[in-house]
């Protein structure tokens, strides 16, 4: 299972911290710092996998990360996940963010830190993949967005809108 999803920039500033197990807030920050230390010094030509850090999981854990512009997207997973599968999942997650924010950049993530959580919850839940189909993900996110609009007149229509999407 995926144990944690982290987004931080090159300086180690957190943009998303999500853990799928009960871990205290201060330890979460420590883990983020440690992983940033491990990842940031690696040139892009090296592989995208690292053995788990001391504070999270040790050698039975894989850190799978991708580097996009100023940001690092890090998934920490146990040995039961396919590393390449996680790689692709990061790509799906980023593409989903891209659709929701239309050309996503670090600033979007800073000012909409709550929305990243909503997008992520459509991709990963309980440490497991929920959905990998981009249109399905953005449809779910946009529907929730529409509902959240203050002038949303027809909240009850939601079910039909969603159902239409499924074959």
């Amino acid at each position: 299972m995926i144990r944690s999803v982290l987004i931080f920039n090159q300086l180690g500033k957190p943009r998303l911290i999500k853990f799928y197990e009960q871990i205290s807030a201060s330890l979460q920050q420590d883990i983020l710092r440690e992983i940033h230390g491990l990842v940031a010094k690696r040139p892009d030509t090296l592989c995208n996998f690292l053995e788990g850090s001391r504070s999270i999981g040790g050698s039975d854990t894989r850190i799978v990360y991708r580097h996009y512009a100023t940001l690092y997207f890090v998934f920490v997973a146990d040995m039961s996940e396919s590393e390449l599968g996680i790689m692709d999942l990061i790509q799906v997650f980023v593409e989903a963010l891209d659709r929701v924010f239309e050309n996503v950049c670090e600033l979007d993530l800073i000012f909409h830190f709550d929305e990243i959580h909503y997008v992520l919850s459509e991709v990963v839940s309980a440490g497991m993949v929920v959905e990998t189909n981009l249109s399905e993900i953005s449809r779910a996110v946009n529907e929730a967005k529409r509902q959240a609009k203050p002038d949303s007149d027809h909240p009850r229509l939601a079910i039909n809108t969603l159902r239409r999407g499924f074959v």
Partner: protein, 930 residues
């Protein structure tokens, strides 16, 4: 979220902060502001949402936030979707699990799960998944199960419900009552929506690990779905990812199947795997496509290893992997090595992998540390007797240039491999000494502790170890740990080389002393102990040793000072027996699991999903699989009985009629392991014929140690039963009885001791004492019967107890003239003579064999008569055996070793023929076992 101006401004403010202090100040100011706002009752929903958002942002940046819990609950209860959304987010991020307010969150969850708006239901499911408290598991599981199983529910809800159950199941398996609904979710693996199938398969995978065989049916669904995706080209429209149909689902299904035995689905599975492997023969051009396709491929190989590791398919996979480990893509190299390590850990013949040994060794130099690590794991997994020397040599070569983070693990693995595959003692000692010199700084104490343990436990190693130890001390550079090992070894066995040129006691002491000034405190402490042992070992340099100890009596370090004072005092006490007793040679360590292995295995932590394999050779993976609970039950049918007869094949064996193994299911075939066990136990038995304590039996499940104290004609025997297995053993009974009813030997449990415990936890030890009285000289050793039950399987161990008439012997010193008079007298009557010519090949190879013979004679209770024989190597000894009813019997012994013929003649003359025979038998067994 509609933009909230206040929040945007706050975030922008924080971004402008130049230092951590600035940010801290800004946050504190805002926190104070929010506190006052929260106190006002007039707060509207919009503002509440805004402030809670600010709090979430602060906590993301790592600031401690412990307000806003109540406000989060208010938001959860709001009718507005946007407020509810933030409320649930805050509840999962800010409110601690044990808080009273969580209860309020749970009650609104219950309501929202039944909302008619599916978006709200999903929101609640997400929140329940994230929060996942025990209360949710206990009170909401049924509702969530219903959402998953409801025929009318949308896929949108179903997949989230499945994963919510998964989370609750993992956190509180006892609260969700999985057995009530587990079987009903399996059919949803065939749902037409790929998202639902994916989520349910994840749930089923977790259930399969907990419920075991009840989930078997899932494998049928998994195979069916795989076939349709891989072979039938099922159209999954939206889920084709760069040309690969639903790669995540394929991976998940392949993974799930690794938790089941393939059974009759094997042929079909192999067909599917073959197709996946065949299709990957040509490398995809595009990177994304390669990722997706290879993700499936690697998992397929992993499943292939599980299904049928020794099939041709796996040999083909090995070829494919061989190509991957030289790939230009670092990721593929990494995964190739990792998967190959899995293959190496399970495959019977390592040949297809060994072909790539050169490439793998090269990978130790890869520029990526992650790849280097995998290469190390693979080398460790693929090592066997034939390749051990080459691999260990390569690892040692890389140790010098390896990065610090990797070096410790490398050192540990080298130590384990060397011990496991050593076929020559010299090689073991050489490698280990080299290892501590190279990597001493990077490894824990357990490595050098282990070296000492191994040397103590293997007599054959000790002489060579001493030579190397002295060499090490004299080398220009001597590492800390190497110093400790050397000091310890010389302290114990320095006498073995004392006669060699340049190795005299004084030379040994000097070499040790020269290292002291530069050594660290712990190393000096170990060295001091060695010096103290020298006072006992080498009386000729006792004074020098004392002078050295005396110097350290004033050491600044408390530990050193204490040691020096105590050792000094010990060595100067006027007592002949104190020093030899205190510094008696250390007994071999009881064979427990090597500390190194536990260290290596402890690095594996419990992850939420069980691993299907671990890094390491086949044996460790096999033993893992046999530990599965399901198989433990099946092995419980029918008891087994092990009968160990240490004397079974010895030429002059004491005739022991062990109880016929009537309940033996299988014939007592001599499998190699059994032969080895019998040989081992014969060795243990022989050792105890001249040493007072040691191991009597060492099996896979239990170990029996023995300690004997003889006060002829009485003796007290202590037996120690240790549980080596991973489970508790119970119904323990330990009985000893004399082999005949004559009453010549009386053996019974001591009355002044606690009762033997009925059961023993893993690593636990029970002990029981027996009182023995020798009434008359008896011909046969008593029998020890230990029975216990492990995991429902009763086991009876029948051992011969090394207590013979010859044990009730005391040394007697008589003059040379007296000896010859008695020798002649007994020889004339020739009633009590026993003579044998024994093969003793060790005489030629071991310079100290004669000393060893003397030790044996001494250990058996004889006094050596000096100068009685013209040949200096011959041994002449006298002892007297005491019985309770028949009085005392003198016993004379002559041992004539002939190194040139590798033979030794022994002659025993005693006033009792049975006694003479017993002594002769014991000696021949001792020689045999050496």
């Amino acid at each position: 979220m509609a933009p909230m101006k206040g929040l945007t401004v706050f975030i922008a403010d924080l971004r402008k902060c130049r230092s951590q202090e600035d940010e801290e100040r800004r946050v504190n100011k805002e926190l104070a502001n929010i506190r006052t706002k929260f106190k006002e009752n007039s707060l509207n929903g919009y503002n509440r949402k805004k402030y809670v958002c600010k709090l979430i942002y602060m906590s993301l940046l790592g600031h401690e936030v412990n307000i806003g819990h109540k406000e989060a609950v208010d938001l959860v209860n709001s009718t507005k979707f946007s407020e509810k959304q933030i409320g649930y987010l805050a509840a999962s991020l800010l409110i601690p699990e044990g808080s009273e307010l969580m209860r309020a969150v749970v009650s609104s969850l219950r309501r929202d799960l039944y909302d008619t708006n599916e978006c709200i239901v999903c929101l609640a499911l997400c929140a329940a998944t994230n929060v996942a408290t025990r209360e949710i598991a206990e009170s909401l599981t049924e509702d969530v199960v219903m959402l998953l199983l409801a025929p009318s529910g949308s896929p949108f809800v179903k997949k989230k419900a499945a994963l919510c159950l998964l989370r609750l199941l993992r956190r509180f398996p006892e609260s969700v009552k999985a057995q009530q609904w587990a079987a009903r979710v399996i059919p949803y693996m065939g749902h037409r929506d790929v998202g639902v199938t994916l989520a349910v398969t994840s749930l089923v995978t977790a259930l399969a690990q907990q419920q075991g065989d009840e989930m078997r049916k899932a494998s049928t669904f998994a195979v069916r779905r795989l076939r349709s995706l891989v072979l039938d080209g099922e159209r999954v429209a939206d889920h084709v990812y760069y040309g690969v149909p639903a790669p995540w689902l394929q991976v998940k299904l392949l993974r799930l199947l690794q938790y089941f035995e393939p059974g009759e689905q094997r042929p079909e599975l192999l067909g599917i795997l073959r197709r996946i492997i065949d299709e990957s023969q040509e490398a995809p051009r595009e990177l994304q496509q390669m990722n997706a396709q290879y993700a499936v491929l690697f998992e397929a190989i992993n499943l292939g290893i599980h299904v049928d590791v020794d099939q041709g398919l796996m040999h083909e996979s090995a070829l494919l992997l061989g190509r991957f480990i030289t790939s230009r893509e670092t990721n593929i190299r990494f995964l190739g090595l990792e998967t190959m390590a899995h293959l190496a850990a399970c495959i019977d013949s390592l040949e297809p992998i060994k072909r790539y040994q050169g490439v793998i060794v090269q990978s130790l130099r890869d520029r990526d540390v992650s790849v280097r690590r995998r290469a190390l794991d693979l080398l460790y997994s693929m090592c066997d007797v034939t390749s051990a020397k080459a691999i260990v040599a390569e690892l040692l070569r890389h140790m010098a240039i390896a990065d610090a983070t990797l070096r410790e693990e490398m050192a540990l693995k080298v130590a384990i491999l060397t011990e496991k595959f050593a076929t020559e003692y010299a090689w073991y000692v050489d490698v280990m000494m080299r290892l501590v010199s190279l990597a001493g700084d990077h490894m824990g104490d357990e490595v050098w502790h282990r070296i000492v343990q191994v040397i103590l436990g293997n007599e054959e190693l000790q002489l060579y170890a001493c030579r190397i130890a002295l060499q090490t001390l004299r080398a220009p550079v001597c590492h800390e740990s190497a110093l400790k090992v050397s000091a310890y070894v010389l302290g114990e066995f320095g006498h073995l080389i004392a006669n060699a040129p340049g190795c005299a006691p004084l030379d040994q002491l000097k070499a040790l002393q020269a290292r002291l000034p530069a050594a660290s405190l712990p190393a000096r402490a170990v060295a001091l102990t060695a010096v103290a042992k020298f006072t006992n070992l080498f009386p000729e340099i006792k004074n020098l040793c004392l002078r050295l100890l005396d110097r350290f009596r004033g050491a600044l370090d408390a530990e050193l000072q204490q040691r020096a004072c105590e050792y000094y005092a010990l060595a100067t006490v006027e007592s002949e027996s104190l020093l030899p007793t205190v510094f008696e040679e250390m007994p071999p360590y009881p064979e427990r699991q090597s500390a190194l292995m536990s260290r290596l295995l402890s690095r594996e932590t419990d992850t939420e999903d069980q691993r299907t394999w671990v890094v390491g050779g086949r044996d460790i993976n096999r033993s893992r699989s046999t530990r599965k609970p399901a198989e433990e039950d099946s092995s419980a049918v029918g008891g087994k009985q092990e009968t160990i007869q240490p004397t079974a094949t010895s030429a002059t064996a004491v005739a022991v009629e062990a109880a016929a193994p009537t309940s033996l299911d299988e014939p007592p075939a001599q499998t190699p392991e059994e032969q080895e066990r019998v040989a081992k136990s014969r060795k243990h038995y022989a050792r105890l014929l001249w040493e007072s304590d040691g191991i009597l039996y060492d099996g896979a499940e239990v170990q029996v140690g023995m300690m004997a104290q003889y006060k002829p004609p009485a003796a007290r025997i202590g037996l120690f039963l240790g549980n080596k297995s991973a489970a508790a053993i119970c119904d323990i009974s330990i009985q000893a009885e004399s082999s005949d009813k004559s009453g010549d030997l009386v053996i019974q449990q001591a009355t002044d001791q606690d009762a033997v415990p009925d059961s023993l936890m893993p690593l636990g030890q029970a002990r029981v004492f027996f009182d023995v009285r020798c009434h008359r000289v008896f011909p046969t050793a008593p029998t020890l019967r230990i029975s216990y039950t492990l995991a429902g399987a009763p086991t009876v161990l029948e051992l011969q107890l090394p207590v013979t008439a010859a044990h009730f012997m005391d040394p007697v010193t008589i003059s040379v003239a007296d000896f010859f008079a008695r020798w002649k007298q007994l020889g004339e009557s020739s009633i009590g003579e026993s003579q044998a010519v024994l093969k003793t090949p060790f005489l030629a190879s071991d310079a100290d064999a004669v000393q060893w013979l003397r030790n044996v004679a001494g250990g058996m209770g004889f006094a050596l008569i000096q100068g009685a024989d013209a040949v200096p190597d011959n041994i002449v000894a006298v002892g007297i055996a005491t019985t309770e009813a028949a009085g005392r019997f003198g016993c004379l012994m002559r041992v004539e070793p002939k190194p040139s013929h590798s033979l030794t003649r022994i002659t025993i003359r005693a006033t009792n023929p049975t006694l003479a025979k017993a002594v002769a038998t014991n000696i021949s067994m001792i020689f045999d076992a050496r």
